[in-house]
Amino acid sequence: MKVTTVLFVLAALLVVAIGANAQEMTKEQWQQEINKQTQVRNDLSAKVKALAADVARMQNESTQLDADYQKCLDELYALVGSDQAKAAAYRAEIEAAENNAGELMRLSDADLVARADDVSALAAKVKSLWENKLSLIPEFWDRLTALNDKVKSLQGTLANQVQMYTVGTWAKDRDCLWNISKKKDIYNNAWLWPKIWQGNRDQIKDPDVIQKGQKLKIPKGNELDAEEKAAAKRYYGKKGGA
């Protein structure tokens, strides 16, 4: 029994000693690790140095590009007799016009008709912006072209709006086609009455007879077209013959 115990203790000690020895690094392993890591450190140091040189070169290149770009811009604006400050002011004017156009584009047709003067003012503003030589620069040229399209679209929408007139009474308003046509906010020209007649043939059979409350379309234009002239001629012919 005693011998067995001694054997067991000895065996256990041996196992512990071997295990402990196995976990520790030998000098050879240490040397190998030192050599390996020294090589890695040297490689990395060289890489850091090369990268730092690249970064410095690229920073210089970037700074040079900034200078080249500023020089190019100065030359570009000088071509049209301007400079960066004037171009910035011009850019702000275009932006304001773009905002104005955007606002007008969002209006309903009825609201747009009410602001027809603003459309005219915008068209005039765009025209004046085109007159500046800075408009030759593509950045501004493209924006002004887009603004032109918007102004045309707004003007087209206004042109397509048909003005309406509700007929009043003869006693109070003296409303007849002649007098309606004579009104300042209609044609300001009594001789254009056949336009109203021809524009409302669906509801006016006899131009001498219109009814209170009738809603008449007021066609656009400031002179009679061939059809309207022919209708007027027929009317006066009948009147003359009557």
Binding site: V3, L7, L13, M25, K27, R41, L44, V48, L65, L76
Partner: protein, 89 residues
Amino acid sequence: MRKLNRTVTAFALAFLFAGSGAFVGCSSSPDEAQMKQLNDLNEEVASLEKEVAAAEQQKSALDREIAEKNAKLKKCNDDQAIVKQRLAK
């Protein structure tokens, strides 16, 4: 019984021999200063790896920046050519 004692003695001798081998192994381990040297080296390597990563990141950001600036400069030169053409008309 005597035979058993001989066995024990032989086993104990064998253990001592093996144990001495283990102690010899211990004595060839790197000392504390050498381990510190290795640890310092490992730390230096880790720090350099971070430096490399940061520099590479900075380089690729500069790459993009330069490409953008080159494109802007090219557009400016193109614009100059267009304006000259328009002025000539």
